[in-house]
Structures are given as C-alpha cells and as structure tokens.
C-alpha cells in the first residue's frame, strides 16, 4: 500500500464491463437511435427497390446505408452494416439490370408541362 500521498490503490481496481449487458446496450440505443432507424429505413427502401422496381428507392437505400455506416458504434457487429450495404447495392443493380433506362428527372417533367 503506497501511503506517501500517492492516491493510487492497486487493490481497489474495478474492471470495466464492456457494453455486453442488455441494459447498457439499451442505454446506448436510447442515447443515439439514428443508426438503428437508418438501418430499418434502408432495409425498407431496398425491399421496395427490389420488389416494386422503383429506382429512386434503391438509391435512397444506398444513402441510408451510408448514414447508418457513419453513425455505427464499435460495439455493434459489422455484419449488420455489411448486409445493409449489400442489400442496397443489389437493389440498385437489379433495378438497372431489369430496365437500364434512367430515372426521369422531376425537373424535366416540370419543364414539359
């Protein structure tokens, strides 16, 4: 025991518990729910892109995946973000493979009408 004014005590160490307990995980999510929302939104948009073949949905899914990637926590596992990227990229590729014509820009339709 160092008593000469040194406050350090090696016998009173309390180890850090990583965010594995669900309570901490819940707390982390409640603090910043953005990545979770963006992930769900990305999944929905890529489903729309794949099923209903709406091109702008696929592009929005890709943007949502990027936002979710930028806000991930290191404690989250990478599978979730990789799968959301793969899903959105496949939605974009599939919708252009099926019909390679471009999205008609809204400003073109406005100018014509």
């Amino acid at each position: 025991m160092q008593q000469n004014g040194d406050p350090r005590r090696t016998n009173r160490i309390v180890r850090y518990k990583p965010l594995d307990s669900t309570a901490n995980q819940q707390q982390a999510i409640s603090e910043d729910p953005l990545p979770e929302y963006m992930n769900v939104l990305g999944m929905i948009f890529s489903m729309c892109g794949l099923m209903i073949r709406m091109k702008w949905c696929s592009w929005l899914a890709l943007v949502c995946s990027c936002i979710s990637f930028a806000n991930t926590r290191t404690s989250d596992d990478a599978k979730q973000i990789v799968s959301s990227f793969m899903l959105s990229v496949s939605a974009v590729v599939m919708s252009y493979l099926q019909n390679p014509s471009p999205i008609i820009p809204p400003w073109v339709t406005l100018l014509q009408s």
Partner: protein, 438 residues
C-alpha cells in the same frame, strides 16, 4: 436389317417425289427464256457462273426465280404487308450517359457524404486524442489503471482512449482511494455526418466531456447532496435527476455569499453542505475556469434520472455515492495547464466529499429526510400495489361469474351458485377471532 432396308426404301421413294415436282416445271420453263436481272455494277463473272451451272446441273438457275414467284404468289393472296413494328427496346446505358442526371446527382451526394465522413472522423479523433494526451499525466498520477477496456490483462494495459463511435470516446480509470471507478467520456459533435454538421449550425451543442465517478461508500461518510453549475445547464439537471429533485433545493444566499459567477446556481440539501464544500480555493478555481466547467454534482443518494412522465418506479433503485462533472471541450482544450487544474479540482472535491463532517443535528436532519422520502415512496407504491391486488380480485370474481353463466349442466350450475353464495356470505360476515381462554 429389315428396318434398315425399309428405311432405305422409304428414302428413295421420297427422293423421287421430290424431283417429280421439278420435272414438270422443268419441262414448262425451259421453253420460255427466264428474264435475266442485270444488276448494276454486277461483275460479268456472275453470268459465266450461271452457264456453268446450267450445263452440269440444269437446276440451280431456276430456283431463285421459283422463290420469287412463290413469294409474289403469297403476298398477292395475304393482306397488304404490315409496316414493321420495332419493339421498344431501351437503348443500353453506355450509349446515353447524359440522360442519367438523377443518378449522377445521387452518386455525387454519396461521394460528398463519404469524403465528409473521412474528414469528420479524423478531426474528431485528433481533437479527442489531444485532450486525452493533456489529461493522461494527471490521470496516471491518480489511478493505478487508466483506459481499461475490460479484457486485456492489467500488466499489459497501455493507457489509451477507447473509440465508442466516430464521435464518442471514453476512458475507464480505476484503482484509487475513495473512488471505485471514474468513467471519462468525450461526446463530440458528429462531424462525420453531414446532416449533423448542418444541424449543428442551427442548434450549436458543442463538444462535451463528462466525468462520472463512482465514489466509495463507507459507514463513516456523511450524507450530502450538492450541485453547482451554469444556470441553464444546472436547472436542466435539477429537473432531470431524481435525487436533486427529491432532496435538494436552490441556495441563493449561499451563492451570493461566495460571490460565485453571476450566471451560476448552487443546489444542496442543506446549507452546511454548501459551506463545507465551497471553500475559497474551490471558488477561485470555479471562477477561473467558469467557461470550461459547466456543472458539478456530488450525491450520496444518486438514483439516476427521474422516470419518464407517466411512468414510476415500483421499487426504489439502489442509491449510490456518485460524482458527475460536465465540461465544455471548446474551452478546456486550450492549454494543458487548465486541464490539469480542473482535473485536480475534481480529485480535490472527491477527497473533500469523503472527509466532510457534518454537525450532529445536520446529520440527523439529513438521515430523517432520507427516511421520510423512503417511507413516502413505499406508501405511494403500497397504494399502487393495493390497487393492483384489488384489480386482480375483481378479475377473478368476473371470471367465476362468467363460468357460472356458461355452465350448461343444471346440477353443476346449482353447486357453483351455492359455492358463490357461501363465498359472498363469508366476505360480508364480520371478522371475529376466537380466543382460547386458558
């Protein structure tokens, strides 16, 4: 063998038929001279080729005329030739890049977002690292372990900052007298996210550093609840924290006596706590670093934030001795000396809260108030518990009555009814206790 012979025989007979057709026509057409279609620029060689074929095979030249005749015959009979309809096959994207304007814009947005992500991430990391490097010497003097990630062995531990996300960093320090653990967390502006950067321009929140220290509880430590800080932030925490809200109140006179900065407020459960914590040294440091220090909260009854509106605790969470400090990184990170001074002030307050001795009646008063709060809480939750039990009882009687109504067999129904009447009679009868007299 029979099959083979039969097959050959069949092949020969069809051959004959095939030529039969031509033989008739051959006899007819040879008389008339077939019009020669002389195409312009057609080399004479073609003519020579026709004679050669006529002599040897005598068949080939007629065939093209025949095909033309057949085609002319077919078209005369069918309706006039339909104009060819070209299927609407979209042109391949490599052929008209220019029309992919929307896609180009989205790709540009993604590129901008990702470059901003890289820039923002490195900026956040460098700010956090420089401030951690300023704090590290003081932390290493005070703690046996700095920057614990919970897994690596203690002897191989290198003090380092943990990256929770690209905008929050933390360091867990432990191994000190009076302190179980100290959790230092830096919450920066999310520079890596373009949307957050734009939002930051409208509602600036700034980079924050919070220190959460779990203090050691022994039976000779006196109860205290104390908070001091900048008005806006302090009143926000006062509303949010359950212990501040339940025990503490604002101490205006005390704040004026210590001539703290005008925009600061002091909260405490007793005046005596304010006088013992805010000694001149502390007040001078608070005034010196008025911008960097936002809020300091020391409490022996820390139970976290109040439950959200409408919700309430059924059981009081376990109270712990706790210290919370919120610092503004924008001012803190200017020079190493101020960082050291502020950290030493925090450790000084930790030790002071541990050694603080209240007068006898102040201590009795504090203990009584905590007891009153606990009793009031139990009374409140008792009411909840009673209401819940009442609701359960009513639910059961309703179910029994429902069962009685649904019962088809008359005999069973009578028996159930009798049982029900007996139960009701028993509930109504006065409760008497039989005492045995010896």
């Amino acid at each position: 063998w029979i099959f083979l012979i039969f097959f050959i025989g069949f092949a020969i007979s069809t051959d004959d038929n095939e030529f039969a057709e031509f033989e008739d026509e051959f006899v007819g057409s040879s008389a008339t001279q077939a019009p020669e279609i002389q195409r312009e620029g057609e080399p004479p060689v073609l003519k020579q080729k026709d004679d050669f074929e006529e002599e040897d095979f005598g068949v080939v030249e007629e065939e093209p005329e025949e095909a033309e005749k057949v085609r002319e015959a077919d078209s005369d009979d069918a309706a006039p030739a339909q104009p060819l309809k070209f299927a609407d096959v979209p042109a391949h994207f490599r052929s008209n890049w220019a029309s992919y304007q929307v896609e180009g814009i989205v790709v540009l947005i993604i590129l901008i977002y990702m470059t901003n992500y890289l820039i923002g991430k490195t900026t956040n990391a460098s700010i956090a690292q420089t401030i951690f490097d300023m704090c590290r010497p003081t932390l290493e003097e005070q703690f046996a372990v700095v920057g614990d990630d919970g897994t690596t062995d203690l002897d191989k531990m290198i003090p380092s900052l943990k990256h929770d996300t690209d905008s929050t960093f933390s360091a867990w320090c432990t191994g000190r007298v009076n302190v179980n653990s100290l959790f230092l967390q830096m919450k920066m502006v999310k520079r890596q996210d373009v949307v957050s950067r734009i939002m930051e321009m409208f509602t600036p929140s700034g980079d924050k550093m919070t220190i959460k220290a779990s203090l050691e509880t022994t039976n000779d430590t006196d109860p205290l609840i104390f908070a001091v800080g900048e008005k806006k932030i302090a009143s926000k925490y006062f509303k949010e924290m359950l212990d501040l809200n339940s025990f503490a109140s604002e101490r205006k006179q005390a704040a004026q006596q210590f001539n703290l900065p005008a925009s600061w407020q002091v909260y405490a459960d007793q005046n005596e706590v304010v006088f013992s914590i805010l000694d001149p040294g502390v007040v001078s440091l608070l005034k010196k670093h008025e911008d960097a220090i936002e809020f300091i909260h020391i409490s022996d009854q820390f139970t976290g934030p109040k439950p959200a509106e409408g919700e309430s605790y059924t059981r009081l969470p376990e109270a712990q001795r706790y210290m919370f400090v919120s610092l503004n990184l924008q001012y803190l990170g200017q020079d190493e000396e101020s960082v050291m001074e502020i950290l030493n002030l925090v450790f000084y307050l930790i030790d002071k809260a541990r050694k603080m001795k209240l007068s006898k009646d102040a201590k009795v008063k504090a203990e009584r108030r905590r007891k009153e709060f606990e009793d009031a809480f139990l009374k409140q939750t008792h009411q909840f518990r009673q209401e819940a039990a009442q609701a359960r009882r009513e639910e059961k009687t309703r179910e029994r009555k429902q069962k009685l109504m649904d019962e088809s067999d008359p005999e069973r129904q009578k028996r159930l009814e009798a049982k029900e009447l007996k139960r009701e009679a028993k509930a109504k009868s006065p409760k008497m206790k039989q005492l045995k007299v010896k």
